[in-house]
Assembly symmetry: C2
Homo-oligomer: 300 residues x 2
């Protein structure tokens, strides 16, 4: 059985794992990523960790998931907010030079989606659209077990889907961009603004307040779930995925919001697509598993 190395490089932590074809983690090492120290420190640390994987030199290759879009032509990150110095840096090349096995780089939400498409909740479906609902909103489009990375790596950067053009612009995303209106952080922000003070710490608490009968908060939840339904309907009108796989922190409160999203979604899509499944992500560690799977996927 083939064995690959997966690296999940985040702004805070880095995980390196040896993973088999079935997505089973055979060995895993975790460490701070040292992103705030220097790029050199991050890269040296990554090399050290990979060296500590048993039999690293006999693996098929190394896949790396990074927090930002990756231009697949240049094999470089095009944007890197949480990893200073990595924009345009030839990380894949640098790691290849050290280990002499093929290295593949891809956006973290894309590799999480790939993991779900290959060995997780989406494994029986040709077109998997993975979404992560959390602080932000991210996505990954996986067609026949291949990530559709998109122009300059911006494929499935769904944070910027405009779900209502009549909203106010609040940052560099477009006015009415779904992330600004319906991510966990922004649902919490809007609910606190409505209360006039910082009542809620996360979206789960907002959903609870709605369930306890706060009518203003209920309206806000109705609107946010409509915003998410619009996002999923938009994705459906564009690619018609066979399945939506949902990950991210907001899914801890899935019973409070997901049925509302699905009901509204069904009113916005063609009747034949109303049965599109919305399924919770299945893997505990999609980051390292997906990064490892990238090797298999790209070598096909």
């Amino acid at each position: 059985m083939k064995v690959m190395i997966g690296v999940d490089l985040g702004g805070t932590n880095i995980r390196v794992a040896k993973v088999d074809e079935n997505g089973k983690i055979l060995q895993e090492i975790k460490s701070p990523s040292y992103a705030q120290e220097s790029r050199e420190r991050v890269v040296e640390n990554m090399k050290d960790l990979i060296h500590r994987i048993d039999g690293y030199d006999t693996c098929e290759g190394i896949g790396i998931g990074v927090p930002g879009p990756v231009n697949q032509v240049e094999r470089k990150m095009t944007l890197s907010t949480n990893l200073p110095g990595f924009e345009g840096y030839p990380l894949a090349e640098e790691i290849e030079k050290e280990f002499h096995i093929p290295v593949y780089l891809e956006n973290d939400a894309d590799v999480a989606g790939l993991a779900e498409a290959m060995v997780g909740a989406g494994k029986d479906y040709p077109i998997v659209f993975y979404t992560t609902l959390s602080t932000g909103i991210g996505g990954g489009l996986i067609v026949n077990k291949q990530v559709v990375s998109g122009r300059k790596g911006f494929g499935a950067e769904i944070a910027n889907i405009i779900i209502d053009r009549n909203r106010k612009a609040i940052n560099k995303l477009s006015a009415g961009a779904v992330e600004n209106e319906a991510s966990g952080t922004n649902i919490t922000r809007k609910a606190n603004e409505l209360m006039g003070e910082k009542v809620f710490k996360h979206a789960g608490e907002v959903f609870n307040a709605a369930e306890r009968g706060n009518e203003d908060i209920q309206k806000l939840v109705e609107e946010a779930t409509m915003d998410l339904a619009m996002m999923y309907a938009t994705i459906t009108a564009t690619v018609a995925p066979d399945i939506f796989v949902l990950g991210g922190g907001m899914m801890q409160s899935k019973d409070s919001f997901l049925p509302k999203v699905i009901e509204k979604y069904q009113g916005l899509v063609h009747e034949q697509l109303r049965d599109t499944p919305f399924v919770e992500a299945k893997l505990a560690e999609p980051g390292v598993v997906g990064a490892a799977m990238l090797v298999l996927s790209r070598q096909k």
Copy 2:
């Protein structure tokens, strides 16, 4: 060089052509499709036409483009408005039985997109999004020379992208669906409603009136081009294609509306995607050429 048969089956006409790998049409026959007579008549006529292609039995296979979504698992049309009786009918199987070479079925906008992606304006790009702006609005998503058909064949059925949820519902599409707001027919309808009488016969005349200085019509054109820009921005936020290839009757007036669409689009997408090219479709007969290319594409 490989040679394939392409069939473009429409509600009015059918074209059958022998096409080489470069997309060159070697022989072509055109006939009414007899869609209003009976399904049997349509199928018999199609068989007759294919039999009339020189050396039809030595071709690699037969590709058929049809006016509606095609479920690729069942190899059948899932919706067929302009071809009565074809919903759920095993056309591919029927033609295979007659000719004993592989037969592939796909939606007409998808095969037009495939033609452009393989031998037309998009041939140098991994991710091609083809749009047709005409009576309706249709699309085709082609990734690495493969059509992304979508769940039950509904991939890139972009008519239903909601570009403004605050519009009125006017038919079975969602309220604010782009086709109802910005297709050629609907731009013409809205302009005539604004004038209180049937002044315009097609969108080109509406654009001309705006250029001659009619301020009400200018506002309408501004809105319609914003609606189209929203559609393209939505597609970009979902898949980030490397290129948009544009076909359809409205492109005859491209100088009157396309620069406005592109300018507005650039204000709605990430700064790194503002240079996404919008290019006019190149092929004179994308229908038969794309249908033929389907054979090559699917055999890979």
